[in-house]
């Protein structure tokens, strides 16, 4: 139907003697909403780190929109259309909300240092465009009233949303969310579910979601991959996963 946004072929990574992730493969089409779950220590975040370029896999390849990015550094990979949020919030704390989002817009700008210092027409064009875009994203995520606030002063739930907003500003074709509901109460989680749905429709991006909150994952994901001890144990729709014996064993034991 649609094109492949992200494809990983048999990626593995070894830390010392530890095989943290082994032969992990995934193929996400444009616009899909996919969940990645597994017990603590299964290697979910390690997979994320490989996909986004924090770690380079020991073997296997990663493609973004058909381009091989396996050896590409993290900041270059953002330009290829992948962006992420972090499990423990990593905002630019002392910058304003708007500036936080605009950091990600930097990759869409190409004015020179001369343009920057003397504020030429090009500078204003690109900066204005970025500001308008950032405002739009903040509006969708319901953060427009905090635009000039320092990021560290936002309440926890809003900080999570700001991280998503920041990730969206680089026009990703796939957005990786690392436990976005961690530390949220049920009402906030519900709100987040809505947000993710809206974001996906509005910005036309695929979403890969790591989450422990089963209600969230089962509620919105189209299909789910389960890993345990670095190995894939199941793939399927939420209903299939719920009734999968291996998955239940991995989570609850024999």
């Amino acid at each position: 139907m649609s094109k492949v946004a992200l494809k990983a072929n048999n990626i593995s990574i070894v830390f010392g003697g530890l095989r943290a992730v082994e032969d992990f493969s995934i193929e996400i089409k444009e616009g899909e909403l996919v969940g990645l779950i597994g017990p603590n220590g299964a290697g979910k975040t390690t997979v994320f780190n490989m996909l986004t370029g924090v770690y380079i896999p020991t073997s296997g390849t990663i493609e973004l929109r058909g381009v091989d990015v396996t050896k590409m550094s993290a900041h270059n990979r953002v330009k290829m259309g992948i962006s992420r949020t972090f499990q423990n919030i990593r905002l630019f704390k002392r910058m304003s909300v708007l500036e936080n989002v605009k950091v990600s817009s930097n990759i869409n700008m190409n004015y020179s240092i001369f343009d920057g210092i003397f504020k030429t027409k090009k500078y204003y064009e690109q900066e204005d465009k970025a500001t308008a875009e950032a405002m739009e994203i903040l509006e969708v995520l319901g953060l427009s009233e905090y635009v000039n606030e320092q990021a560290q002063n936002l309440p926890y739930g809003k900080q999570r949303k700001l991280e998503i907003a920041r990730a969206l500003a680089s026009h990703p074709s796939i957005l990786c969310l690392d436990e976005p509901a961690a530390g949220m109460n049920p009402i906030e989680t519900e709100e987040l579910m809505e947000t993710i749905k809206i974001v996906r429709e509005k910005f036309n991006t695929a979403v890969l979601l790591i989450e422990h909150d089963m209600k969230l994952v089962m509620g919105i994901c189209e299909w789910i991959k389960v890993i345990s001890f670095g190995k894939e144990i199941a793939t399927g729709t939420p209903d299939e996963i719920k009734n999968n014996k291996e998955v239940i064993t991995a989570y609850l034991g024999e």
Binding site: A74, R84, G116, E127, S170
Partner: protein
């Protein structure tokens, strides 16, 4: 284009402030007091140097201990270039077209002075670029501080031991172009302008992002290493400018460069507030004023007068204990704040007037 977006009141206020600063410089320059010329000059130059260091320590969030070395580099480069040009063009020409009879400068003199200083700054910037590439890509935090310290020691020792570059006494400058407070004032305005616009651009945004979180910056598409090297180069360039300006004033001796200067600059930046340009300028004023004015008074105890630097340690300890963010923290001067202050004062006065009758009743 440049000032298109500024509101009219702020634009006018800024221009007035700049004119006032430059007028003040001219006033001091034409005055009789050598001491005050020296104080104002040094405040202006130290402000530029402190701003340069603040770009690295405050805006980039990395700890650099070697900016004294960059000042020395700018100084040496400026002296060498100035000597070279003078030898090329010839002293007679200088007598006729560069100096006025009273020892001041003709327009051509100002041109030569400015280009000399700017070229020296660019050369220092290039050195900063090399140091940045070597040090910043691999190191951060304490390690970077140690490397920058080492680099500045290298600069200092090289110039001390190669006679052509100055030797132990420093280069004896006979090419003094009569750097004057006016030039320093203009250069300070230029530096402030450069830093402010740099920080407002995408490069500055990347710099701040690196300060707050390297990993997140990388994940947002910021090339962290490149961005750091660029900012460091920029900072070195401004520091070189300060050093080059230092070269053209009789009253300063090159022997003042070295580790002490690096530390002094760091104290200025910490005292003013890491990340606050305004704070750096204010505290540069305080430190220089203390050094050159307070310590030379006859009523100051002999102990202080002969050991002016003893206060630095006390300042650091007190600042860290009671106000670790410095005088201004990260706050900046803005015209909105300035005029807001007036409004508050006015409101207070009106309130007081209204309240007084009630008390009488």
């Amino acid at each position: 284009m440049l000032f298109k977006r500024m509101n009219k009141r702020n634009l006018v206020s800024t221009l007035v402030a700049i004119v006032a600063l430059l007028a003040g410089c001219i006033f001091v320059q034409n005055g009789e007091s050598l001491l005050w010329t020296k104080i104002i000059s040094k405040i202006l130059i130290f402000s530029i140097a402190a701003l340069a260091l603040n770009v690295v320590c405050g805006c980039l969030g990395e700890f650099a201990l070697g900016h004294g070395g960059f000042l020395l580099l700018g100084y040496t480069a400026a002296v060498l270039i100035a000597t070279f040009t003078k030898n090329m063009i010839g002293a007679d020409f200088y007598k006729e077209f560069v100096y006025t009879t009273r020892g001041g400068l003709q327009p051509l003199g100002y041109l030569i002075l400015t280009s000399d200083v700017l070229i020296a700054a660019v050369i220092t910037g290039l050195f900063g670029f090399v140091v940045g590439i070597i040090a910043l890509g691999r190191l951060k935090g304490d390690y970077l501080a140690i490397v920058t310290l080492g680099v500045s020691l290298i600069f200092v020792n090289i110039t001390k031991n190669i006679p052509a570059l100055g030797g132990a006494q420093g280069i004896n400058i006979n090419i003094n172009l009569g750097g004057s407070p006016l030039i320093y004032g203009i250069m300070l305005v230029v530096s402030i302008f450069l830093i402010l616009t740099f920080m407002k651009s995408r490069f500055g945004r990347a710099t701040l992002a690196c300060r707050d979180d390297n990993i997140a910056a990388e994940a947002c598409g910021v090339a962290v290493n490149k961005s750091k090297v660029l900012t460091f180069t920029f900072s070195a360039l401004i520091a070189g400018l300060a050093g080059a300006l230092y070269a053209h004033f009789n009253a300063f001796k090159p022997i003042e460069f070295g580790q002490d200067l690096s530390i002094e600059l760091l104290i200025i930046v910490v005292l003013g507030g890491l990340g606050s340009l305004t704070g750096s300028i204010i505290s540069a004023g305080i430190i220089v004023f203390y050094n050159l004015w307070f310590c030379t008074r006859s009523w100051v105890p002999e102990f202080f007068a002969s050991n002016p630097k003893i206060i630095y340690g006390i300042i650091l300890v007190v600042i860290m204990l009671f106000r670790s963010s410095g005088i201004l923290g990260t706050a900046e001067f803005s015209w909105d704040w300035f005029y807001g202050l007036f409004k508050k004062l006015k409101n207070k006065l009106i309130k007081n007037k209204k309240e007084t009758p009630k008390e009488v009743e």
